[in-house]
Each structure stands twice: as structure tokens, then as C-alpha cells.
Subunit: 279 residues, 6 copies
């Protein structure tokens, strides 16, 4: 069960309204790697943990913090949209290039749909979708997804930090960047713990290795002309799982025969192979 | 530029048709973590590499291999759908529970839409979408996404391996599982190399640390009641980036004030705060 | 900012696992009118309130309760999936019609994707999308959306209540149904208050009536043959806004002329009207 | 069955082309609350009415009118795009800030995809989706959805009315706003009639009240710190359904125990709770 | 402007309810090639026609007929769902394999969401989306899309005809199949007329041929090993546009150089090419 | 199985960076009719061919070429984004209308998400989705879809050719336009061959004509007032399939009765027809 307090986890102040930056900032609220994504991903992973109380708690705690980040960014976006009057926008468009540029850069849905409020969308207006998240029941696989999310997320906030020239906005972003630093470090630790407990780094670690086609488990296939990647650590030496030796295959060929399918029954109305004689 | 040969990278044979398993197998072809996702993700990352020839080659090579995996799975699915006649399906439904169950478990679009062919969809019929993939220009962030994809992917194929009882299908899956083993190991190596070159593990490693709110960069906020997660490695000791010490905050409070917004201009037609007097 | 406690707002127990009902129950967790929708809708509306503290509080309170409902349903779904082993599923399919039917009715993603966990999806597997929600800045418009959501939501839970025959599951559903009763009543009160404050029922109440084409503001157009709807309260008498009298128009005609467009410039490569002579 | 006449229900004239406004106007054609949504929602509800001839007629009549509104808006958008030549757009971009601003504000798909025609999309380019609509078979639930749609729709057209400075465009919009006034009034009447017939306002009115957890059916849970919403009509007095008395619960607690799940079978490859000893 | 009559364009009767076929039939109502698609595609193309009255009329007429087809299929689906009671569904699941199979094959949303009504979705539950349609302003391009839609549509209805064993349902489908025959023939005629008027078959026919890289306009590139397609009519002889001769290129090579990108500015936080020295 | 070479099939050079055109160009990479669509469509059709070796080869060859086109366009887009620095973008916005216009016209995700790389999205940012493609197993239906795709695709590239004023970009586009010329011609030939083999033009050609309602197979229904389309070749004369004569029906009426549904069982909680007496 959840509770709310009215204070923000961190300030969300702006020096002046800026509808263009409001549009850009939507990316880290409602985009693929935005705060809605990490909130939903961590909560769903946490609620689905089967029998690992410590990890459930870890996930629910960070997930609950992320709801507060949604609140910070929504407030920031709404304040960047303060004072945006609709009347005479058109007129400005035709007379004042500066205002016109701002209008062209503004998300029209901030005016028409949300009434100067934040939206659960990214910086071009795609609505948030659960396609963005994963909760698989395998914590090592999921913590890697979480580390990815914090990496992509911090990258995007850093880019927005460069675009902004408002010191108050930058201050809020610097808080979010710091929290992403914390979370990247924390997921790295959690990943290491799971890898050590399992004694393996290949997910799922419990799948019996003798059931996989071990002859190709450490091959690198150079499917292209040229071998610029032949000397990387992925192509030689002992693999990180300690169970095999990488092998660089410069000219990989097929193990299988041609892909040929039998005709469909006539009532499926596929094209029958009547043209066979003419081939 | 790309070329094709007619042989499959690995055999895709089946002991007998099985439309139910054909439906389930769609998950690892056209689902969130299926072969289309890794193919598209690696190729887009590779085509967008700016100035790192070795990594571009690495991405293009594995991406090109993944197109072959799409070919293997499509062939496997089509063969699992061999001989599926449409006539009298209804009749069977009402008389023979065994056939009825198979029809109920079959994806109707395999009959009606694709004419007994594989589809770019997951196991419940959601069409593949580029929402599933990322190419950010930051290779460390992206290689973590790639390791995630291979982890989730191998997990899903392993589950399908357990569901299947067809030795030929299992043989093909054991090849794909082995290739995922190889790719997990390879992305781990590539990640290590990038982390060592950068001397940091926090993405983006080039963002100036003094620009983030460093006071909170190593805090763990226990936003819940109970401290089951207080003793994990994410809550104490030196963080993996070697730049700070984790701090467990048992009762985190807000740094900011209440989230309060100013009224909208009247021409936006938001509800005006006329009820203020009544509050 | 938000906090979490580990206890559920209400029990989420099951008498026995039931993967088929787990699939159906997804509708009210991650479907169009599920708990994710109301949680996100109320929180976004609340965070976007401009200057009406009382309504912001109302929205945040109910929105925060809805996160707890997500937690209840996720737990319930996970427990309905307890003990679902993957091995030999295929075999059962071919030998035991009863198990086969259950497998056919199960969501394959509960096995392959989420590892026996709840998903942010509906009962056929469509991922949750922010297309489902609205936050417009106009509270009367939005509270009507909220009343709609609670009406559709209670309707769906009531249908699931009829489908289930597990007394423990039904008990949990009876709690959710009761909360929907409370919320429907509460939104109705909030709507009445806003209507009374505005002295109007037509959203947005602040749009100047003289700017609309008042001659048609109370017309009912019978665009069909037959007048079964001629005697409803929507076709005669004073309208609920008290500003006009309904008028039933049995054979409505057009006010405008034919829709005719001018040709496109040639560099757009539309089909030019060269065939004009032949018409 | 349907018929068409070539005249528009209302004029759709423009004083001058305006590709920026054409983009914005897409919102009320193909957006979440646009004319496609109400057309499809009313027709589907109407076609699914089971045994209430009067309401079926009502829904089909208004639904058929909405097709005409699609026609009006499509024509208006196409005319706002008249004379948009593609050649030298780029050049203008680099030399003339005013034209550049217009191009930046234009929807590029109006040039590249639709050839200066209207699209089934919203103002940022999201394609229309049936995620936006509902037809539930319960008319009270659905009429509330319809009242919501007309409220959100009129709100959006009113905002566009403010943005526009073209008297001809404003005239067309004033027609659509008036029709939304009519439809809001009409759905309100239809809702009242259904509520009176049912003798209840809680959907579905036929669900047996003794089957819900009545002890909590009128509770308001203050899940936050602070009680700004304690004195609203939703927190005290008799509820609108006349069956209970609101109760304000200032510090609501959980009714359930902790959410704990049992481990998954090993063949699902979830993380096993082996770390239990370390907790 | 549009009008409605209460009679169906064709009967939509069923011999008995059949919820499994109701689910399958959704494909041709709300799927990629269903009636919603052709209705919306033709109406949007028609409303966007610029200056070709005859073609506008053609499109609006067929588009208006398609609304009637939506009505037929919605009625058919609703009748296939008649008498579907929710109570005791679960119970049946566990005791009666035949009923269980039917429930497993039923779309759960027909019970939970639409209340035994048709939905704007396909046979696996994907909601209809305007991604399925096109209106480009170029009539030859669009009529080819229309011919495609009628071809795929008739194919799907024919497959459903084979699946069904209900003579009344088959009768309705035979009407829809016949109308698709008519429409395929009609679009073929319209295509021929446009091709003859243009004197070309390559869309857009008005693009100046000297602006394309004519050296490769008739090449066939054999990008694979093996030449099974070398002797088709696409590889030799005069091309259908009469402007060139096909040329089969057995081993096509690249015309361009390697794809190499310059580094990104540092403030974008892409991975810098620092590893260059190590390549 | 597939292979890659590092050279582009054609040059992808630019005279100068141009982030606005980069955004527009995304349409033909990741839009409905872009190169991802044709690549995926042809490969899926090819992999699903059942027993027609020649057509499988044809599809795989052109599909493999299309992967190279993705590579060309991705490279072109990345180069159009060269040198786009993020710092001070905001500042420019407020001071320099020309730069402001460019920023307003730029896709913000090119900066924030992809780090100056191409994306699998269209020109307004919609992610690519497999909703765009079809592989039906019926080659005539699918080749018509392919001809449509090449027609819409060439149309869009031609429009972009007009917008661009960069001779190097235009040169690359002229190559893609020429390849679309080739592919349109080639699909036309393949279509003719299939039609001749089948002796029919109506898909599916193998469906028994006596099973369709032949009385209406050649009717044209004039569902509107006015007969502008009465004299087209679709309304009179022998139909292209040679099996019937078109018939123009100036005032088509219904063949069926009114669409009336029976009430739902009470446990579905639809609105019961209690209001019947009042009608």
C-alpha cells in the first residue's frame, strides 16, 4: 500500500517559462527510458518477486522513489508552460519570427490536449507504452535491464542538461542525474551479488549447459568482409563465464540445408506451386 | 550492402506439425526480446557508430548473424504449421475435445492472415514495434542494452525448450541458446573494455561529475516501512565506480517544497481557481 | 513524494492456482479501464491541477490508493499462476484434453515472458498504453472521464466476479467493486460541485456562448429513416443547461455546399485533374 | 446501410492557407477525442445495443452525424494546405525565418505522406487507434463515456478557436462547438433517464449490492499527509446513490497482510530463493 | 453528409451461437484488411481528392458501402455471441473439456469488455489502427493500395468461409466475397484508366525520368547465391513501362564507399573514438 | 544466411548538415512505406513461400537489396546530423530566429535519444511497426501489396527530392527512385505471370465462384446522390476477369432486414431492455 506527501522530493523551479524545453523534457518523463518506465518496471518486478524478500524490498524502494521523480518532472514541465496564452498565437506566427519559432517548437498538445500540463508522452508525442518495460521473474536478467534503463536515462538527462540554459532547471536535472548515478552503482552491485551466488554470468544460470549446442557457445562469426573486430576481447581468450575459449571464425558457413517448405492444403488459398514446371 | 545464401545457418526441422507450439514460438521471433529486436537493434547501433571502426564491425557482424536467426525461426514456425487444413475446423471443435483444444491454442492469424506462415508478432499476436529497441550513440549504454536483450532472449528460449517435447525442435533451440551464450559473453567483454577505457562505470562517463548533485549520488532511500534491503551491497561500502561510499537513508524526506502551480490564462479553458474561497 | 508499506490494502488470496482466470483478470489490471489506467489518470490530473488545492488533494489521494489496487491485482494474478510447471506441457496437450484446454486458455506470455508474474497488459495481451488516459486541465471534463473509468471498471470487475467460482478470489473482487462504488459516488459529488460553481453543465463552461453557432445548439438531427428516438428527453423540452429548448429535426439537410478541393501544385505529385475533360 | 450526399453539413471555408493550423486542427479530427473517435464509438455502441430500440436509434443517429463532421474537418484541413509547394522549402528554411518557422510548425507528413490531405492522426502525428473508444454493452457506462468525449472534444475545439485568427475557420469551429453543446445536453438527458429507470447511479446498477464489501463502499481514504480534501461533498453526507453515508478516513491502514509469493518451479528459470540464508 | 437506414445491406443470420467463430471473424471487421480499413481508406482518399470529381465520387460511393459492411459483420458477431452466460464458466472449465475448449478459444474481451458485442479489433485482440491505411493524394498509388486491400480481404473471408460450417454464416460471407470480387474488378479498371491517361505505369508518372539514376532503373540484382529467379519476366525483355529493358545482374557489387561517420560533438555524450589507437 | 560488406550500395553524401531534412527523410526509412517496411515485407513473404522456388528467390533477392537501402538512408541521416552541438541550443532559440527555426524543425529525439543517429521511426517520430506489412501466403495478393509499397515509396522519395536543395542528397535520392522504378516494373511482371497462370485476376483465384453470391459480383452501388461515377469503366462493360458484366445500380437498397439483437443474459450486466415499455 502507498502513501503520499505533498512536498516534492526535490525542487522543480524554473527561471522563466519555456514551452520548447517543456516539449523536449517530456522525453525523460514519458519516453522509452523516462521515469514512468523505471517506476513501472521496478514496481512490476518487485511485485512479481518469488521468495527473495531482500530483492523485493530493493525493487519496491527504488520503484517508489521513481514515482516521486515523475512528480518532479511533471511539475517542472507544467511550470515551463506557465503563462502560455492561446489567443493570437496565429497572429504572432505571421508577424514575429521569434514567437513563431517558439510556437513551431512547442508541442501543440500541451496547448490543445493537456491545458498546459505534463503528458505521459515522449518528446515527439508518442504515448507511453508498457512495450518499454520488462519483468521476467529472473532477477539477473531484470537487473541488467534496470542498469540499462538507468544508463540510457542518465544519458538523456545529461543531453537535456546541455540543451538547457536555465540555472534552476539545470539544478533539478543535476539532482536526477545524481540519483541515476546512485542507481547505476546499486544495480551493478546487485548484479555482481547474483552472479556470484550463481557462479555464472550467463542468464539463466540454471539452464543445464549440456542441453545447449556447446560446440558453438564461444564462436564469433565474422559475417562480413574485413576483420576489424578480430582482435577484440570478444574474439579470443577465456570467456567471462570461465567455461570456454572464444573462437574467431573468419568465414562462417551454414550448418543447415536450404529452407524449403511444403505446399499448403488447398483450402488455405495460398498460391499453389503449379508454376513448378515453369521454373 | 548485404548478400544471402539459401542454406540456413542451422537446421529447422520438426518431428510433426504443432500449431500450438508455433504460436508460442512466435515470442522469440517477433516479441519484445525476439530475433527481430536484436537484428534491428544491432544494425541500427552499428550504422550509427561515429568513429569507432572496431565496434561498428562488431555490431554489424552480430546483427547480420541475427537475420539468419530470423530465417531459422520463420522456417521452424512454418513447418510447425504444415498440413493445417481449415475445412471442418469448426466441426472438430464441437465433436473432438482434443482437436478443439489444439484449435483453441492455435493463433487464428496463422490460418486467416499469414496462410500458415510465420508472422512478425509475439506469442499473443502483438505486432513487432521499434519501441523494443535502442540505438543511443553511447556504446556503453547500448552494449548494456544488448547484454540485457541476450539475457532475456536466452531465458525465453530456455523456457520454450522446457515446453517442447519434440527432439528436432529442441535441437534447433539448443543452437539458439548456445549462440545467446556466446553473445552474452561477448557483450560482457565489450562492456568491460569500454569501462576500462573510460575509467568509469557510470554512463555517460564523460559527463562532468561536478555538474551533478553529488551529495545524493550514493544514497539509498528506504522509501518503505521495514529494512530488508539495508544489508545488501548496494547500501554500504564503496560504490563500483570507486568515487563514493553508499549511504543507507532509513527515513528519507523531501528536499523540495509542495508542488503548487499557478492558474492558467483564461483562454486555455482550464478550470479556474474560483473555488479558492471555499477551500 | 511517495512511501510504501509491505502490507496489501486488502487480501489477495486464492483457493487454488488457475492460469485461465489469471489471464482474464489481466483486463482489470492492465486493460483500457484497469487499475493502471486510473492510477495514471488521477496522478497526472492531480499533478497538473493549477490553483485548486482541494481538487489536487482529492486526485492525489484516490490516485495513490489506486497504486495499492495494482499491487493487490498483481499479487492475485501471480498466485493464480503458482505451481505452473513448463515441462511436459506439450505432452499434456496431446494426451489430456482437460489440461490441454487449460493450456489453450492460458496466456503463453505468463509462462514465457513474465515467469509466472503479472503483466502490464490486458486479457488478450495488449500492453498498457497512455492512449487510455486523459488529463486536460479542465476538471469538469476530467472528472467526467473519471466517473466513466470507475463505471467501466466496476462493470468489468462485476463480470469477472460472475466468471470466478473461487470464494477467496471473489472476496478480493468484492473489495474492489466496493471501492469502485465509493469512487463513482465521489466523482458524482465532485462533478455536481463543479457544475454548481460554474452555473453550467456544458464543458468548458467559460467559453462565451455567443461565439458558438447558437441556432443549432439544441437540435437533434434524425439522420436515419424512422424516428424511434423522437420521444426521448434529448429531443424535446428544456435542455439540462437551462439555456435552450431541444428541437427534433426529422429530416436534417446540409448547411454547406459540396466539398470541392483545388488541385495540388505539380511538385507534390498528386494525380493532376487532367481527366477533367473526360468527366 | 448508409447513404451520402455531396454537400457538407456545414461550410468549411478558409480565408487563406495555413499549414501550421492544419497540423493543430488534426487533433480534433484524428486525436483521442476527435471526430473519428465519436463516430466509431457511437456506431459500435449502436450496433451492439441488445433490445433497446430507442437507444440504438439515438446512437446511430448521432454516430451518423459524426461522419459528416469528419468530412467537414477533412475538407477544412485540406484547404488550409492549399498551394503548399514543396520546391525550395529547404531554401526558404535557410534564408527566410518567417517561412522557416511555418515549415518548422508544419506537419511534414502533410507534404510527404498525404499529399496535402487530411490524415487520420492527431496534432503530433499519432495515428488514430481504437484504444480511444469503448462499447461495453452497458448503456449507462457508455453514455458517461459519450458525455466525457463531448466534453473533452468541445474543450479542444474551444482552444483551437482561440488559437485561430481566421474568421471563416472560426465560423466552422463555432458550428462544431454548438453541436457539442447539443450532444453534451443530450447525453446528460439520456444518462438521467437510465439512472431513473434503474433507481441507482452506480454502474452496473444490477450487480447485487450484498456481493460487494459494503463496509468500505462509502469510505474516502486520505492516503496523503494533510487533509485539504476532507471538507468536500465526497467526504461527508449521504452519497448520491442514496444507499450510504460518506466516511472520511484520515489515516487509512491496510486490511491485508504482506504480499509474499511462493517460489516458481525450477523449469521456469526464475531466480530461485537461494539467497534466503543471506537475508 | 451521411444518412442511415435501419435495414442491413445483407442478412446477418446465424444457425447457432458460436463464440469461437465470433473471435475469428473479428479479423475481417477490425483487422489490418478488415472492413474498418477499407471504409476509412476510401473515405479519406475520397475527401482528399483534389479536382477529379469522378474519382472522388467513386471513392465516396464504395467507402459508404463499406460502412454497411461494418454493420453486417458487427451484427453477425453479436449474434454469434448470443446467450453466452458468464456464470459458472470457470466451473465448466474444470469439468467439461468441450465447454472448456470453447472458452479457451473465445476472446475473453467479448465477455469482459464488450458485453457480447463486436469490437474494433482483429482476431487476436489488436485494436484497429490507422497505421493500416493510406491516402496519398496520388490516385494511381492509392488505387493500387485499394486493389491490394480487396485482394487480401477476399482472401481472408474465403479462409473464414472454409472454417465455418454454419450455412447461414456462409451465406453472409458469400455476399461479402462477391462484393470483393466486384471491387477488385472495379479498382483494376480504375487503375487501367489512370495508367492510360498518364501513358506510364510507374508512380508518380509525372516525376521527370531524367532526374532518376536511369542507369539502374531496369536492373535486377541477384543478391543471393543461385539464380532461380533469373528466367522470370522481371529479369529480361522490355519492362511494362515500355521505357527500358530489364538487365539481370548476377553478382551485383556496391556503387558506394564504406559507410563511415565523423565523431559527434562532446556535449552529445556519444562514445568518443578514443579507442582509435587500439584498432 | 546473410553476409555483409562494408561498402554502401550507393553513395550517401551530403553537402552540409541539415537536421531539418534529416527529420523529413526519416519518413522513407522508418515510415509506413519506408525501406524497413519493404525489407521486412519481402523477407517474410520469401521465407513463407510454400513450394515456389522461383518466387522465393525473387522475394529474398529484392528483400536483401532493401537492407542495403536501410544502410544508405541511415548513413545519409546521420551525416545530415553531423556537428549538431547541444550546448546553447536554448540560447540560440531566444536570440537567433534562423537557428530557432531549425531547432523547431529538428526532431528532438535525434539529439536526446539517438545521439545524432538515424532512428527506426517516421518523419513525426512514430516508431516502425509490423502493422505496416503483410505476408499472406497468397503471392498474387502479396505482389499487389509489393507494387503498392513501391508506388507509395517512390512517391514519397520524389516529394523529398523536391524539398531538398542539396545536389549530393538529390543524387542519392535519384538512385533510390530509380530502384523503385525497377521494382515497380518487376512486380508488375510478376503479377501478370501469376494472373496468366491462374487464368483469373480475382484473388484468391482458386476460390470456387459458385460459392460466392454471384448475383452481386459485378454491381456498382451508387450509395450517394449524384452519378458522377456512372460513366467510368468500373460501371459498365465486361469486367477485367472476363466472367461478368458491370451493372450500375443508381439507387441501391438493402437486401437484409433491420439489425436487431436479443437481450444479453443478466450476469453480463448489459443494460436490460426494461425501457421497452416506454418506447
Amino acid at each position: 500500500m502507498f502513501y503520499h506527501i505533498k512536498e516534492l522530493q526535490y525542487e522543480a523551479k524554473v527561471s522563466r517559462p519555456d514551452p520548447v524545453f517543456a516539449k523536449q523534457l517530456q522525453e525523460v518523463l514519458g519516453g522509452q527510458w523516462g521515469e514512468i518506465s523505471v517506476m513501472m518496471q521496478y514496481l512490476f518486478q518487485g511485485m512479481n518477486v518469488r521468495g527473495n524478500k531482500k530483492y523485493r524490498d530493493l525493487l519496491m524502494d527504488i520503484g517508489t522513489e521513481e514515482i516521486a521523480h515523475i512528480e518532479i518532472l511533471s511539475t517542472l514541465i507544467a511550470r515551463l508552460l506557465d503563462n502560455t496564452s492561446l489567443e493570437h498565437q496565429e497572429k504572432a506566427y505571421h508577424s514575429d519570427p521569434a514567437i513563431a519559432a517558439i510556437m513551431g517548437g512547442m508541442n501543440p498538445q500541451h496547448a490543445i490536449v493537456s491545458g498546459l500540463g505534463a503528458m505521459p508522452s515522449d518528446s515527439v508525442g508518442n504515448r507511453w507504452t508498457a512495450d518499454y518495460i520488462i519483468s521476467s521473474g529472473n532477477l539477473l536478467a531484470d537487473f541488467r535491464a534496470n542498469l540499462t534503463a538507468e544508463s540510457q536515462g542518465r544519458l538523456q538527462v545529461a543531453r537535456l542538461y546541455e540543451i538547457s540554459d536555465d540555472p534552476l532547471v539545470k539544478d533539478t536535472l543535476s539532482f536526477l542525474i545524481a540519483r541515476d548515478t546512485a542507481h547505476q552503482n546499486q544495480w551493478i552491485e546487485a548484479i555482481h551479488e547474483l552472479e556470484q551466488q550463481a557462479g555464472d554470468v550467463v542468464v539463466p544460470t540454471t539452464f543445464p549447459r549440456e542441453c545447449e549446442k556447446q560446440a558453438v557457445s564461444y564462436d564469433f562469426y565474422n559475417t562480413s568482409r574485413g576483420e576489424a573486430d578480430a582482435h577484440g576481447p570478444w574474439a579470443q581468450g577465456v570467456a567471462p563465464d570461465g567455461r570456454g575459449q572464444f573462437r574467431y571464425v573468419p568465414q562462417p558457413g551454414p550448418y543447415g540445408g536450404p529452407a524449403k517448405l511444403m505446399p499448403a492444403p488447398p483450402d488455405v488459398y495460398d498460391t499453389p506451386p503449379s508454376s513448378k514446371k515453369r521454373e
